[in-house]
């Protein structure tokens, strides 16, 4: 079973045509790290070398930038789309009031972890956010979800400053959850069923946007 999905690419020319941005803007956003360096994929073509991008990622990113750039500076946007954690603390009340995760999710987390504190730091918010997504996807029961939280709580700190991926598989009804470096290629026998996968940097990005947009 191949894990690496063949991502569809878009050429630079097509991208500029489609989005209406200019070369200058593209390079500017690259300089500001709003568009990551490794999205620029060089391929040789009949006209020499051409640059391609992962289609979905770049289109949604440019859409985001366009929506945000009227209200925020490029540096602010760069901070939001980067997957660096930020130093924030939210109380339970705020989390519910600002609708960051569902109240049910929060209650489940508190129950699973015996979490009696009133405040959540960024890492905990991230676990909550992932928990929320998993619960909303409806593909796992509560015991299995608990496994995910346990995996994250115990291991996520080991990946400081590195990107990782959360993978949840099942074989004959036995669930296994683990964290691994991302990008990474993993191959399993055919009887393994993938239930859930999340790239942590993407989750961080989404969470940050969620936190900021609701400001």
């Amino acid at each position: 079973m191949e894990l690496e999905l063949d991502t569809e690419l878009i050429s630079k020319k097509e991208l500029l045509d489609l989005t209406g941005i200019s070369y200058g803007q593209l390079y500017r956003w690259k300089r500001k790290n709003i568009i990551p360096e490794d999205w620029f994929i060089k391929k040789s073509s009949f006209t020499g070398q051409e640059t391609f991008f992962p289609r979905e990622k770049i289109l949604s990113r440019i859409d985001k930038i366009k929506n945000m750039k009227d209200n925020l500076s490029l540096d602010d946007i760069a901070g939001m789309v980067s997957s660096n954690p930020v130093n924030v603390v939210y109380s339970k009340e705020e989390i519910i009031k600002r609708n960051i995760v569902a109240e049910n999710t929060l209650n489940n987390y508190v129950l699973f972890q015996n979490y009696n504190e009133d405040y959540f730091n960024f890492d905990r918010l991230l676990y909550l956010y992932i928990l929320d997504r998993v619960l909303k996807s409806g593909e796992m029961n509560l015991d299995e979800v608990r496994l995910i939280i346990k995996t994250l709580e115990e291991n996520y700190a080991k990946y400081s400053e590195k990107d990782c991926e959360l993978i949840f598989i099942r074989k004959f009804g036995v669930p296994v959850c683990f964290l691994t470096n991302y990008p990474n290629e993993i191959n399993f026998e055919n009887e393994i069923k993938y239930i859930y996968r999340a790239i942590i940097s993407n989750c961080i990005e989404e969470l940050k946007i969620l936190l900021n947009i609701k400001d």
């Binding site: 020319k13 200058g24 070398q49």
Partner: protein, 246 residues
């Protein structure tokens, strides 16, 4: 720097030190630091060799400085000779002598009057040169202002406003030429594979592909393909094999 009670360091002889945090550093002799250096202001009149990382607010190299790891400066002025083997973050970089950066340079403003070689990529809001440079990777800058003196090369150039003009002959050239024999004055031009920007004006440039909103090709250029959106002008003195409106 907020720390109190940090000392100045002044070296007049030859010395090996482990590194550390200082206020002002002045080297008239020969200093080797075996670990990281953090300081406010550093002036190198003699020779400096830093094995660790270097972080300073302001730096000036009149002699020779080798940084064997990553460096971070608010401003750095190289009048002599310098080598940076790691990634370099320099907000305001001014080269009047010679500098080589073995990895990437990230800057706000780069001014080259001497010679700058970058083996990685160069990212800067403004990139101005009246000297000669090579960028093995990509030169990405908001405003690129080049006066060509001697040969300059870059694999890729991207930015908003790109202007390349032939440098005026003046006594300055002669001085530089006498200092750096590697300048090839018979082949005084910019050579690049790809140049992409919004507004582009080129003179004395050889490139495979030039793409932009508005592209103006001045005298003595050799371009294989120009792709433009709004405007394309070409001087009679230049060769453009193919031009396409996008």
């Amino acid at each position: 720097m907020k720390e109190k009670n940090i000392n100045d360091l002044k070296i007049n002889g030859i010395m090996n030190l482990p590194g550390g945090t200082f206020n002002n550093v002045k080297i008239n002799g020969h200093l080797t630091l075996t670990s990281d250096l953090t300081c406010n202001d550093i002036v190198v009149n003699g020779m400096l060799n830093v094995e660790g990382k270097t972080k300073a607010v302001k730096g000036k190299v009149n002699g020779s400085a080798d940084f064997n790891n990553d460096i971070e400066f608010d401003s750095l002025n190289v009048m002599g000779k310098s080598l940076a083997s790691g990634d370099s973050r320099i907000k305001d970089l001014k080269i009047e002598g010679q500098m080589r950066i073995a990895k990437n340079l990230t800057a706000d403003e780069v001014n080259v009057f001497g010679l700058l070689n970058i083996n990685g990529n160069c990212n800067s809001e403004a990139f101005k040169t009246k000297g000669s440079f090579t960028v093995d990777g990509m030169l990405n800058a908001g405003t690129i202002d080049m006066e060509i003196h001697g040969r300059s090369t870059a694999n890729e150039i991207g930015g908003e406003k790109i202007s390349v003009v032939k440098g005026k002959k003046n006594y300055f050239n002669k001085i530089i030429k006498s200092i750096f024999s590697s300048f090839n004055f018979f082949d005084s031009r910019l050579i690049a594979n790809v140049i992409e920007g919004d507004v582009i004006y080129l003179e004395y440039t050889k490139a495979k592909i030039v793409r932009g909103d508005s592209v103006e090709i001045g005298p003595n250029c050799e371009i294989d393909v120009v792709e433009f959106k709004n405007k394309f002008v070409k001087s009679d003195n230049s060769v453009v094999k193919e031009n396409k409106k996008m």
